[in-house]
Symmetry: C2
């Protein structure tokens, strides 16, 4: 292991190494080397395909487990406790009543209505607490990194952060199991982000079987990027969304076509596997099918849609703010010491509150699926949502549900359980969207002759406003406000709903929400968590340097830990590597820059050459053209420790350009020189600091990601 | 104008300038400067929105014009010649026969069947020649840059190539008009690529109204990128596809979120405008609606789909090869001197051949729309395609049509008319896909009990194989083989067909085609044309340097045109700028690098300071820290001519890394130094040369894009 956990890899160096290996193999024109090249490539594809299949199967298995656990909270199957409600009642003729499925009160044969509901609700709450508590216990005891969503860490890892403990098989197991328990407990969380983490753990596990990935941090990360695409693909049933999510949100490799390719393949295979197993017997990828109420929409609808966008932006920012405050409070209060108790309490409160309101009692996915549907007499009425006389009650209930879910989500996201933010956000947005939709519809039916509504069909029995579709827009806007994703969000949403004809309104909603949200606070929720945990991640944002130049941000010459060429002895260098954890040291002669020696190379040189005789020898570094010149008796040639791929700039360069270079080239450091003299140095950590300067809580949750 | 047409802009320099301007405005805390910042941003959005609306309207108008001209080849409306067939026959009760529309033989009252068909076919061919000839004449006489698709040039321009003549209002007009004529003439070409060009011309035209874009080549390009997205959006009715096309195919700005944003907005607005005008009264964005034959597909279908992928890859490569050969032949033969005659002849041949085969007689878009449809007794039979007894005849006809279209397309793409390659490629692929689909279906119905087909429903009246959908896959595969696009292609295709549930098979088709195609030849058709015209465009491909280092590719110190600090006089510098067209000159003292002076800055210095007295003064260049030191009597301070944003590397750096830097940072040059001494320099032109080394016909169509 060349890198410790917590350090950052040097991309240029890693890629140079990989190219060297590649070239070495290709230059030997033997059959064996040809086979070896072929085998390398085959192994990559093997891991990609295995990950795709693995995450597809895991996703399907998770769905089944969650469904079973969730149903268990309400009753059991007479045929056997391992059937869920749907499979228990399958095989019936239409119209036949399912008698095999018993609620708990039926099972215990309780007749009194009061006792019935008491028993039902207490089992409901107890099992919720039990599931959530177990999840928290598992996470706390066996795999602390399995908590939370995992997306911030994946972003940091793909950017070069070394965090192998985050990807162990043990984390994989606990995250998958804990996720199923946490989702089934009815906590306000989703499975989407954690599934991406699980996919990455899988890819990492498969990659450990082959030596070639152990040596290459860059190759490993390219595999992880493909795995992340597969994870999104399974989480949302959105193979294309997975690829574009990788491009937009994890855009470390945007330019490298082979990475996109692997993501494409992994994503497709994962979706095919999921569809093949078909956990719910629908043989559909589309999770929340929207019954499209006609492809047309009217100009006046832009008003409610823009409103939804604004609401999404404001509430999204509020959710982020609330979540940050709660996370800080949790960290600094007594809660920090009782994570399992916290989870149990919150799950009890969630279950108790949820049981009261009809829209929060069901699982979020079921709620969302129903909110996205239009009212259709043939389909039956979902909890009275389509009852036009109960309009105000419905709007009130929906808004209450949204408020409850918002607070619960802000609290839940960050507790000691695996928890995604996507689904709860969709649920909040869908409630609000539906409420706005119902309102708009009722205004339109009340004043059908108003000039605003003249574009509606004159026949009052034909629906003009489709509240179900407003739900979709509300969900899009809320997601836009919370995650600040754009294109990938639109793609995911319309793969999720199948509402292809409505891509324009979804775009409008997401755009407005992002604008409003950005005005209220620059970062999405993932970036906020990255900053709070201080991972060395450089977000792909435009950096406004306010006219500052590199010299204002760099560590100046005087503050740098340097190797003096021709003066430092091998002993000095040993001391240097022991006292400083830096990734490397500039080598200078006086003030002239000679090169940059990486700690890694220095250590391997020391392990070979350090002895009592060599300890006092002076270190020399030559350029290749001087290589033949001899070293004196008391000197040692350390030229091999110099790094070739080092960038030099002048210190008058604008900071914005320096940041761009770090963003685009994944640099680890830049040296600033003028006429061959070293002026200073800027590392990835410095750039991360510059970019996080506006955020007040940087590192508030522990400085986990020191860059060395 | 700072840059001549044909040169390449220096992105780092341009962006630095822009930041400076920005900063200057922001640092003045007056209301006026605040307003000015606001106005700058408002102007950008104004141009983006105007372009979106403009291209939406232009696209709709084009559709109407093409439809009218196309119908004119078959007959005329009694109500007036300016009605097309659909609007002429609108307002009829169902079942009523349209008498207002007359074929030409009806109009001229010809009764004999032989004379009828003779008249019809001769008018058909004559008008085709007339339309195509007019288009060619217009292009040839008024706007030679309006020929071809325009995508290669747009790619080059977005990459930094300066080519303002390509974007004039005159080109806009001729391209739009010529495109309508060319499409209506029935030549084997599409409107998609040219529409992107038209959109860019519009953005350029609108941007000329504001001073702020005149000064900034970078800002101008960011506008063009958004316009290109809008163009794709209108061309395919695919707003999301437009944005992703920009990301993948024109990925110069992938990281810059504001560019993506503007693309997003322009794209959405263009699609809304198009939908609002609704040229065909369908109020749909989806052009080739697929009647989804059930969401399920069977495992055995992977075999024909993979076959289609392979066919697409092979035929795509063949089409590219054929197109290149024809382009070279055209260039080097007598054809070069008679472009209009060539167009007229080819259009006559196209019309004559097309008239013979039923599938080629109609416009390609109509053919594709029908091939994409499943057979449905209620819809009627399209040219006997659904007749199961005529299976072999249909397969034969479809393959013949594909072959004819392939040859005609290879010839047409590159003639002196606006011509896109997308639609013809889709048509070729759709024909082949439908043929394969019909074959698969007939095998399945012939052997329903074979183990391969056991997954099909047992009821023989239920369709198991959907040949219409095979058409879509065939089209995807063919497009993948010709353009080598991936993700954006999939998005465009499924926005085009609405076949969301079939995104996985489309992905399989595109993937296979790209793999097979890449094995046969690395470049897509656009990149081949870029190379043939030698535009300074750096394709975002992985470059394999075979172990070479930067020193192997750079211009070494001895070959560089340099300024000797303290020795060169102002007169020398004047001679330098007159004899060399280079973008800039390294400044050295002996062998030590002082900096890099751009020609642009030198010229402005010369224009201010050159006189007979100063002509013999020596030029000095100082760093900022020495700025206060005085210049001697016979010396001049040219420090202001130095460029700050210059990258230095060591010449031992691998070439692959250097190429990556050029790709990701849009560099213009890199200097190679060691211990302050200049070793050499590498410019964009050198990198383009490296990347095109494998292509034998680089610059074969004229060295239009010399990088200075």
């Amino acid at each position: 292991m060349k890198y410790r956990d917590g350090s950052s890899i040097d991309w240029l160096h890693e890629e140079a190494l990989e190219r060297e290996r590649d070239h070495l193999k290709k230059s030997q024109k033997s059959i064996r080397s040809l086979l070896s090249i072929w085998a390398d490539s085959a192994r990559v594809w093997l891991v990609v395909i295995a990950t795709g299949i693995g995450i597809g199967v895991a996703g399907a298995w998770l769905d089944v487990l969650v469904k079973w656990l969730g149903d268990l909270r309400e009753g059991r199957c007479q045929e056997g406790i391992f059937y869920n409600q749907v499979s228990c009642c399958s095989g019936l003729d239409p119209g036949e009543f399912c008698t095999d499925w018993q609620t708990w009160s039926e099972y215990f044969n309780i007749r009194k209505i009061f006792a019935q509901s008491l028993l039902q609700s207490s089992i409901y709450v107890t099992l919720a607490v039990l599931f959530a508590g177990t999840a928290a216990f598992l996470v706390n005891a066996y795999a602390p990194y399995a908590f939370h969503t995992g997306i911030p860490e994946i972003k940091a890892i793909l950017g070069g952060y070394v965090f192998d403990a985050f990807l162990t098989p043990w984390t994989l197991l606990i995250k998958a199991l804990g996720l199923a328990l946490a989702v089934a407990s009815g906590l306000s969380l989703g499975k989407e982000g954690p599934l991406v983490h699980v996919a990455c753990c899988m890819a990492y596990m498969f990659s450990r079987f082959f030596k070639q990935f152990k040596h290459s941090e860059a190759q490993k990360r390219k595999l992880l990027a493909a795995a992340a695409a597969a994870g999104v693909s399974v989480a949302f049933g959105s193979p294309l969304g997975g690829v574009i999510f990788c491009l937009e949100e994890l855009d470390t490799f945007a330019l490298e076509s082979d990475v996109m390719w692997r993501g494409f393949v992994a994503s497709a295979i994962a979706a095919v596997s999921l569809q093949y197993i078909d956990p719910f017997g629908t043989s559909k990828l589309v999770l929340f099918q929207v019954t499209s109420g006609g492809d047309t929409w009217r100009a006046f609808e832009l008003i409610p849609w823009l409103t939804l966008g604004v609401i999404g932006g404001v509430l999204g920012s509020f959710l982020i703010k609330l979540n940050v405050d709660i996370a800080l409070y949790r960290r600094n209060s007594i809660l920090n010491e009782y994570p399992i108790l916290e989870v149990a309490t919150v799950s009890a409160i969630t279950a108790a509150i949820a049981y009261l309101v009809v829209f929060t009692r069901v699982q979020s996915s079921e709620l969302v699926a129903n909110l996205f549907q239009e009212c259709d007499p043939a389909r039956g009425d979902y909890h009275g949502l389509c009852n036009p006389t109960a309009m105000w009650e419905n709007v009130f209930l929906l808004l209450i549900s949204a408020a409850i879910k918002l607070v619960l989500t802000a609290w839940t996201f960050g507790m000691m359980v695996p928890a995604g933010i996507f689904l709860p956000t969709i649920a909040i947005g869908a409630c609000i969207g539906r409420a706005v939709g119902i309102l708009t519809q009722s205004i339109q039916t009340a004043y059908p002759k108003a000039w605003l509504f003249l574009s509606c069909p004159p026949d009052p029995t034909v629906r003009c406003v489709s509240p179900g579709f407003y739900s979709v827009i509300g969900a899009s806007a809320m997601l836009g406000g919370v995650t600040r994703m754009t294109v990938s969000l639109v793609v995911i949403l319309f793969e999720l709903t199948g509402a292809l004809s409505h891509v324009l309104p979804i775009m409008v909603g997401v755009m407005t929400a992002k604008w409003v949200g950005d005005a209220l606070g620059k970062d999405g929720i993932y970036n906020v968590w990255i900053a709070m945990r201080q991972y060395p991640f450089i977000p792909p944002v435009d950096y406004n340097d306010r006219g500052k130049i590199a010299a204002d941000g760099m560590k100046p010459f005087g503050m740098l830990v340097k190797i003096q060429e021709g003066q430092s002895t091998l002993g000095d260098i040993e001391t240097l590597t022991k006292t400083h954890e830096f990734h490397g040291f500039p080598v200078v002669r006086g003030r002239d820059l000679v090169g940059y020696a990486t700690r890694d190379k220095l250590l391997s040189f020391l392990s070979l050459h350090l002895s009592t005789q060599t300890k006092d020898k002076k270190c020399r570094f030559f350029s290749t053209r001087q290589k033949l010149s001899l070293t004196a008796e008391n000197e040692l040639d350390l030229t091999s420790c110099l790094e070739n791929s080092i960038l030099h700039l002048r210190k008058e360069v604008p900071q914005a350009l320096v940041v761009r270079m770090f963003q685009k080239m994944n640099l680890h450091q830049i040296l600033f020189t003028y006429r061959g003299q070293l002026d200073g140095m800027l590392t990835k950590a410095d750039v991360v600091g510059l970019l996080n300067a506006h955020f007040p809580h940087t590192g508030a949750l522990g400085n986990q990601g020191k860059v060395a």
